[in-house]
């Protein structure tokens, strides 16, 4: 996934001279995960550079840059440090179009590694998508594969609104996938059906899509056919795709790493219930993080959703 994102950045920077990449360590070093490697060499230090260590500064300047004709694609080194920039994101980037009645907008992209599973430090493992998706005016995108990462990032860069592009760091180097050289994009706001099935709709995103895929064989042995929806965009949510799937299966399991209470699963569950109450064959189940501070590395596996938990939830809704 690292190479796929790097390729998307390279190609967009080549195509559009207004695209800038900056953040902490993104220039000379190419980012702590090497996502921006080689960009400074290719495009110079006016277009890919290190910024001072100041998250509000990164987003605040990106707001001004994007209002005045540039396309900043900035990196927050870890999503856990994003909170320093939160007032800028929430009070300005998300609102500038509305506040100015369309005169100004902030078409910036904030890229950030997020999520657990690599045994990292405190503040390096959390999943903050619900907090961001709660804010009107922001879009929140999470790819689950290298192929999607490239296509979604190109779409994000060309989007007219601020996009938070959350990269599941656990998937950065977890598996290989052919990514086409040529340009393509995956529209923001469209979920993907990564596996068709008939008994239960399993909704996931980021690293959890693979956990669901891993569960699929076990489920099959029990005679359960899973339809897996990769949400891909957390805001705005593609309800037509979800509703289509649920009308076929009548059963829903939602899987996410984020904390349970007020998490994206709660929103999804509420909306699906509003549409399908009475038609659902079983109550919706959520497999999520726990409402405790994300544990340090020795215990982090306890809070991560994984096939045993996912399968149990699936069996519960299917009744097998």
């Amino acid at each position: 996934m690292v190479q796929a994102i790097n390729l998307a950045l390279k190609q967009e920077m080549a195509k559009d001279k207004t695209v800038l990449c900056y953040g902490e360590d993104v220039g000379v070093e190419g980012g702590v995960f090497r996502v921006t490697e080689g960009l400074q060499k290719l495009y110079g230090d006016q277009r890919c550079f290190d910024s001072p260590l100041a998250e509000a500064g990164i987003i605040g300047t990106a707001i001004g840059l994007s209002i005045n004709g540039m396309k900043p694609v900035v990196e927050m080194q870890f999503s856990g440090f994003m909170f320093e920039s939160f007032p800028q994101l929430m009070c300005h980037a998300a609102r500038m179009r509305n506040r100015s009645r369309g005169r100004f907008s902030c078409p910036l992209v904030l890229r950030t590694p997020y999520g657990g599973g690599i045994h990292a430090l405190e503040h390096h493992c959390e999943s903050e998508e619900a907090i961001l998706a709660h804010i009107p005016g922001l879009k929140v995108v999470i790819p689950s594969t290298p192929f999607d990462a490239k296509g979604l990032l190109i779409a994000a860069i060309r989007d007219p609104d601020p996009v938070i592009f959350m990269e599941p760091k656990r998937v950065y180097r977890a598996f290989k996938q052919e990514v086409p050289e040529e340009e393509y994009f995956i529209p923001i706001g469209k979920a993907g059906i990564v596996q068709s099935g008939s008994d239960v709709t399993v909704i996931a995103w980021g690293a959890q899509v693979r956990e669901c895929m891993k569960t699929s064989d076990e489920a099959k042995k029990l005679g359960i056919s899973m339809e897996i929806v990769d949400l891909r965009t957390i805001s705005p949510i593609d309800y037509p795709t979800i509703f289509n799937s649920v009308s076929k299966t009548g059963r829903v399991v939602i899987v996410h790493e984020a904390y349970r209470s007020f998490g994206p699963g709660a929103e999804l569950s509420a909306t699906i219930n509003e549409e399908f109450f009475g038609k659902l064959k079983a109550p919706i189940q959520r497999v999520t993080g726990f409402d405790i501070v994300y544990p340090l590395l020795r215990s982090e596996d306890l809070v991560q959703p994984e096939p045993v938990r996912i399968l149990e939830a699936i069996r519960k809704v299917v009744g097998k």
Binding site: G57, G60, T61, Y239
Partner: protein, 368 residues
């Protein structure tokens, strides 16, 4: 001239016109002819009249809470007058005069504070950002704007306004730091009006001056008598020219005083002595200009009365337009969250329309 000689740690505020309207002709900017000064004075009066009118409207429920400019007119007039049309003004929330001078219609300013989002629409070609209410958050935008200009070879300068309270915010320091590192064409204009609502300047920082903070970021900081139109113009002009040459940012501390309350919801008599306010009154920017213009036979009680008689109807005309402007429609309320309406918002918009119809029907039923 001022920027390389002024020491913000030891020097008094830069002054060209003293408290009694006496001018140091040697330092007078050549653009500020008597005619020009008279014109600037008249525009300050216009905004003061508008400000007074907004206060009255607020008391009668026709205007929301807003922050009066009273006392800071010269600081804004002197600084904003140095800009080219293509330069940027990035205001906080007390910059009615600077915004208006740089092209935002007074009508828009009034509409915004009345609570109508239509007021936030800055006209095309006017490079002013909308009002920014979170204190200290807007300076970074000015850094970004001027940085973009530099990257595109556009040579625009961004002038950003903020108060003494904003210098305690982290974003102020990040903005100053980025501007220094990337040498952006940003002019930071701190209107030190001595109070952040009720908290006096001494509680914001142990620094002797606010201007001295620039030293730490590697660029000039100067203190100017903020009620001196001539000094505000001269120093800002030098900072703007410096920025345009590519020599980087400047911090200007305009030493002034908030003569009024923080906002129309505030009562400053609760936290400051009457004597203190009275002591500042002779330094009022209007009084000083009147004293100066009177020596040139360009001001008298009669001239003032005639001027106000001429300007008041212009204010009334704007107020009439504001009063006649409809509130935002439901389509407009939902129309600017994203470039394109999402399905979710389309559903919520339909629901809001349904609710208003339902409410109208019930109201109709009750009346019948």
């Amino acid at each position: 001239m001022f920027l390389d000689t002024h020491n913000p740690l030891t020097d008094d505020p830069i002054q060209i016109m003293d408290q009694d309207g006496k001018l140091n002709e040697a330092l007078r900017p050549k653009e500020l002819t008597d005619e020009k000064v008279k014109e600037m004075y008249e525009k300050m009066v216009f905004i003061r009249l508008a400000d007074d009118r907004m206060k009255k409207m607020q008391r009668s429920g026709r205007m929301g809470t807003f922050a009066s400019i009273e006392g800071q007119e010269a600081a804004q007039m002197g600084s904003v007058s140095t800009l080219e049309k293509t330069d940027w003004v990035v205001p906080a929330f007390r910059e009615q005069l600077a915004m208006w001078m740089h092209g935002v219609p007074l009508e828009s300013i009034m509409l915004f504070w009345k609570g109508n989002e239509a007021g936030g629409k800055i006209p095309e070609g006017v490079n002013v950002l909308p009002v920014s209410i979170p204190v200290g958050s807007q300076m970074l935008h000015a850094v970004g704007l001027s940085w973009a200009s530099k990257l595109q070879g556009k040579n625009e300068v961004a002038l950003t306004y903020f108060g003494d309270g904003a210098t305690s915010e982290g974003d102020f320091h990040e903005g100053m730091n980025f501007a220094g590192v990337f040498k952006t064409a940003t002019v930071f204009l701190c209107q030190n009006n001595q109070f952040a609502i009720s908290v006096p300047r001494r509680i914001q920082t142990a620094s002797k001056t606010l201007a001295q903070k620039a030293i730490a970021y590697g660029f000039p900081g100067v203190i100017v008598d903020g009620n001196d139109l001539f000094a505000m113009y001269a120093v800002t002009k030098e900072a703007v020219e410096r920025a345009r040459r590519g020599d980087g940012p400047t911090l200007i501390e305009a030493y002034t005083y908030r003569l009024g309350d923080h906002t129309s919801s505030d009562d400053a008599t609760k936290y400051r002595e009457k004597a203190e306010v009275e002591a500042w009154k002779p330094k009022d920017p209007f009084r000083r200009l009147q004293l100066y213009l009177a020596t040139k036979n360009l001001w008298s009680e009669q001239i003032e009365a005639d001027l106000k008689a001429k300007l008041q109807p212009q204010v009334d005309e704007v107020v009439a337009k504001v009063d006649a402007t409809p509130d935002q429609t439901i389509d407009e309320l939902f129309g600017y969250t994203y470039a394109n309406l999402t399905q979710n918002l389309a559903n919520q918009k339909a629901y809001m329309k349904h609710v208003t119809e339902l409410q109208a029907a019930q109201k109709g039923g009750a009346n019948a």
